[in-house]
Subunit: 349 residues, 2 copies
């Protein structure tokens, strides 16, 4: 029994190539049926070409027509209003109508967030959906950082809701028992941090969470917390800073290894090491951040997603849907309702 | 002619060993005279021991007695008030009195900031001193990130002041012509970001700066800006996240290389590559963050500083003092006074 997943064919920077290749990979390797959403004629032609060139005939991929798409340059709010037949809206409507179990896009995060809020709505008790990044750690098991850019200028109550959603994601989808939840700050003591973290700290202690207190930036990758909660501005900076330094490290290492490994054998060894390294740290292997708190499954990938990242985004969507996380979240938020935020603030534009 | 630099002997996590070793390295390799500040009898004994073991007799190192020191666990505000004979206060008084050209500590950042503000005072036009981190980039030349933790909950006017100070530091100390100043945000367009960055953006455009607009976390390390301005909470998270991921990368690589390089030769090559890597990315090579905006030179190192980090902190202090940056800053702030912040907020505790 294949799980139906809708894929925005026009999201990534190089769309629709990575999406088409990713859809083919997913249809071959995962128990899914992919609904590729975008300009039908163009997609049909490109998909046929790609399948011919890779010697595939029958794959569980359907094409669903959408005449418009939202680009990275579009203002999210305006585009969501004006583009009524966008790939995002078509895909998320399929989720709402139960025709697919989840939607995957590598497009404009702000637009995905706004469209998903409008089309799917949020779960009861959730003021704002949060974008969660699943990241590798030294300890081997992943950590969940949220919010990573869907919400800036958060209130303490938003962070409490993020903590609850992140904890449930870690336990139900990543299968981490009693996930340790940390509040991202700039010192371990309760009094360290800014106005927002100092206000959030005591509220987190009141929730039915395994709250371990403040954690610091370095803890995101050392495995000392399973869930790390922060404002979307801070989370986005942390994530993109990580990207930047990984590139710097790769450059430095290429130079260092280049300088020391002069032989063919050396170059081969270095290449192998790089591949392992890439596998462990690259976005494409983690494939897309779930938007938590919606009445439905929506996964947002990096704009620079390649085919492997798309494949992994589809995998994450299918896993998310299979665990029934949203039903668990709804139950939890009914049992332990966090106080609503007095002011819901502005989403990213 | 040696430059006199005061060094807090009791700042780092493993003090005073790294400080004593670092002072000896500085006295041997730099044109400085080091004033080592701390418990006189203990320091004299340890310094003599270390000099004997390294076969040194006469080095330009003086010991200056201070009976107290502020630990990482101390609440900064309380400790600054109560410990009246602390190493930090003694050292910074020497700066104020013109007996040394600068002060270096690897101790409690909040306490260093508070003591420096109290003992030295700020330059005219500066509401809050900022802690600046000098970081490596892919482009080869360094970038300056500020504030990295001295000030949280900043107003737009604070960020404008940070931008001016960072730009002057980049041009006078790092010798970068017309430094490109970026505002750390989560999208390039002026409208992207949070309330603080949207308020700051137009103000930066009015200043006599080479302002290049918003930059993102990944730009900290790619060399697309020379100076990156942010709130101290965000900057501190970015810095510590970088530390965390460098550790993760190192672990991953050790495993990857370990798995592919089985021979002795391979291990040797890997070791060389690691050393280069370390040299390019480790804190100890960058050695301490200048506190900008004070009437005097104060450099704050990482709590985990080793002897090389201390040496480099002393080097940074000497360079800072030699450029006469503070006179230039005073001149610039008089010519182009930024508006003062209406509310000066709280320093880190």
């Amino acid at each position: 029994m294949r799980i139906d997943i809708a894929l925005d064919a026009m999201g990534s920077d190089k769309s629709p190539e990575p999406e088409i290749r990713g859809a083919v990979l997913a249809a071959r390797h995962l128990p899914v049926q992919v609904h590729l959403i975008g300009p039908e004629t163009r997609l049909r032609k490109m998909l046929a070409q790609h399948m011919r060139s890779t010697n595939h005939r029958h794959l569980p991929i359907k094409i669903v027509h959408a005449s418009e798409w939202i680009s990275m340059e579009d203002k999210a709010a305006a585009a969501v209003r004006s583009k009524r037949d966008s790939t995002m809206r078509v895909g998320l409507k399929m989720v709402r109508e139960g025709r697919v179990a989840g939607f995957v896009t590598a497009g404009n995060t702000g637009a995905a967030m706004a469209t998903a809020k409008m089309v799917l709505g949020t779960l009861p008790g959730v003021d704002r959906p949060a974008l969660a990044a699943v990241l590798p750690t030294v300890a081997g098991r992943p950590s969940v950082l949220l919010d990573v850019g869907a919400n800036v200028d958060c209130k303490a109550q938003h962070l409490v809701q993020f903590a609850m959603m992140g904890s449930m994601y870690a336990s139900h989808v990543l299968k981490i028992e009693q996930p340790r939840v940390g509040l991202l700050s700039i010192g371990e003591e309760e009094t360290k941090g800014n106005d927002l973290t100092r206000e959030t700290f005591p509220l987190l202690r009141q929730q039915p969470l395994n709250f371990i207190g403040n954690v610091e930036g370095r803890d995101i990758y050392n495995g000392s917390a399973d869930v790390i909660v922060c404002d979307g501005f801070v989370g986005n900076v942390a994530l993109k800073t990580s990207e930047g330094i990984v590139k710097l490290v790769r450059e430095s290492l290429r130079e260092s290894l280049g300088a020391t490994l002069s032989s063919q054998v050396g170059a081969l060894l270095a290449r192998k090491a790089f591949l392992n390294f890439k596998k462990r740290l690259d976005y494409s292997e983690y494939g897309g951040a779930p938007l938590l708190g919606l009445r439905g499954v929506c996964i947002v990938g990096h704009g620079s997603s390649n085919d492997r990242a798309i494949l992994n985004g589809i995998r994450v969507a299918a896993e998310f849907a299979q665990t029934g996380l949203n039903a668990h979240l709804e139950h939890e938020f009914t049992l332990h309702p966090p106080a609503p935020a007095t002011h819901t603030g502005l989403p990213v534009q």
